[in-house]
Point group: C2
Chain length 197, copies 2
C-alpha cells in the first residue's frame, strides 16, 4: 500500500466510525479533521467533498458488516443452519460491532431517508444485498425441502431484518443488550418452528 492509499484508508476508517456514531448531518468537516488528525487540504486530496467521503465511508462500514456474514456462513449449507448463522452474527454485535456506533445500515437509513438521496440509495443497495442473501437461502431451502413450502422469501427477509434492527435500536437506546437478545431468541423460535420443514 502506498502512503497515499494508507492515508485514504485511515480517513475512511475514522470517518466511518464518526458518521456511524453522530450521523452524516451531525458530523462537520471539523469533526472529520479531529478524528483523522488531518488538515482540510489533506482530506480533500483524497475526497472531492464531504458527500463523497460519506458515501465511501458508508461503503466501508457496510462491507465490514457483510464480512461478518460471510465468515458466519462459511461451510454451512443447510437453510436452517444458514439462517441461524445470520442471527448468530448479531449475538456478538453489541460487544464487538463491525463499526463503532451500532448498525450502519440502520443509522444511515434513518439519517438519510428524508434528506439525502445519494446516501439513501447507497443504503438501499446495501440493504438489498442483505435481503437477497436471506431470500436466496429461503428459496433454496424450500427447493431442497429444508423449509416449509409456504415460507415467503421476501417476508422472511423483512421479519429478520426488521426485528434485528429494532432490537439494536432498543439496546442502543437503553445501553442494555437484553432487547437484542430477546429479539434474537424470538427469531430463532420463528426459524425453528415456523420455517423449518
Amino acid at each position: 500500500m502506498s502512503k497515499a492509499q494508507a492515508t485514504k484508508a485511515h480517513i475512511l476508517e475514522q470517518t466511518a466510525a464518526l458518521f456511524n456514531r453522530q450521523g452524516y448531518a451531525g458530523s462537520s468537516m471539523a469533526d472529520v479533521m479531529r478524528v483523522t488528525g488531518l488538515q482540510k487540504g489533506g482530506i480533500y486530496n483524497h475526497f472531492r467533498s464531504k458527500d463523497q467521503l460519506a458515501l465511501e465511508a458508508f461503503d466501508l462500514a457496510a462491507q465490514r458488516t457483510q464480512q461478518r456474514f460471510m465468515g458466519a456462513l462459511k461451510g454451512k449449507r443447510q437453510a436452517v443452519d444458514r439462517l441461524m448463522a445470520i442471527l448468530s452474527v448479531y449475538g456478538r454485535f453489541l460487544a464487538d460491532p463491525p463499526v463503532e456506533g451500532g448498525c450502519p445500515l440502520l443509522n444511515t437509513a434513518i439519517d438519510s431517508d428524508d434528506t439525502h438521496p445519494a446516501l439513501r440509495e447507497r443504503t438501499q443497495q446495501a440493504m438489498d444485498a442483505w435481503r437477497s442473501l436471506i431470500e436466496r437461502i429461503v428459496h433454496k431451502g424450500i427447493a431442497r425441502g429444508e423449509l416449509v413450502s409456504t415460507a415467503d422469501p421476501a417476508t422472511v427477509a423483512t421479519i429478520l431484518i426488521a426485528t434485528i434492527e429494532g432490537g439494536i435500536m432498543l439496546s442502543k437506546l437503553y445501553d442494555d443488550p437484553a432487547h437484542l437478545a430477546r429479539a434474537l431468541t424470538h427469531l430463532e423460535t420463528y426459524v425453528l418452528h415456523q420455517l423449518a420443514a
Copy 2:
C-alpha cells in the same frame, strides 16, 4: 389561547415535523426560522435554546403518537384485543403519520443515542411509557387467563416495539409500505398463536 401561546404552539408544531424529518443535529436554527416563518428573536422569546426547543418538540411528537394509542385502545378490555389495537395504530401510520417523517421515537433514538444525553433520556422516557403500556396489558391478560402464563411481559414489549420500528425503518428506506405490513402480519400471528390462551 393568548397570542404568545399560539405562537409557541405554532413553533413546536413546525419544529416537531422538521426535527422528525431531518434529525436534531441535521436541523439548524436557519431551518427552524424557515419552517416557522419567524426571526431568531421571535423563537428565543419562547425557548431559551435550540436544545430546549428540541426537547419540547420531541415531547409534542411523542404525545401525538401516544394519543393514537389511547384512541385505539378506548373501550377495549380484553388483552388480545388491546394488543391487536396497538398493532392497528401502525396499519395507518405511514399513510397518516402523527408527525411527518416517520416514528419520532425511532428517529430520535438513532439521532441521540451516541450524541445527545438529554434528548436520549427524553426518548427513553417515551419508550418506557410505551413498554409499560404493553407490559401492563400482558400482566393483566395473564392474570385473567386471556394470555398464556408463559408470556413474559418485558419480552412481548421488546418484540412488538422492535419489529414495528424495524418495519417502519425499512418501509421509509424503500418508500414501500410492504415491509411494515409484513411486520404487522407477523406480530398478529405472534399474538394470536403464541400469546393468546
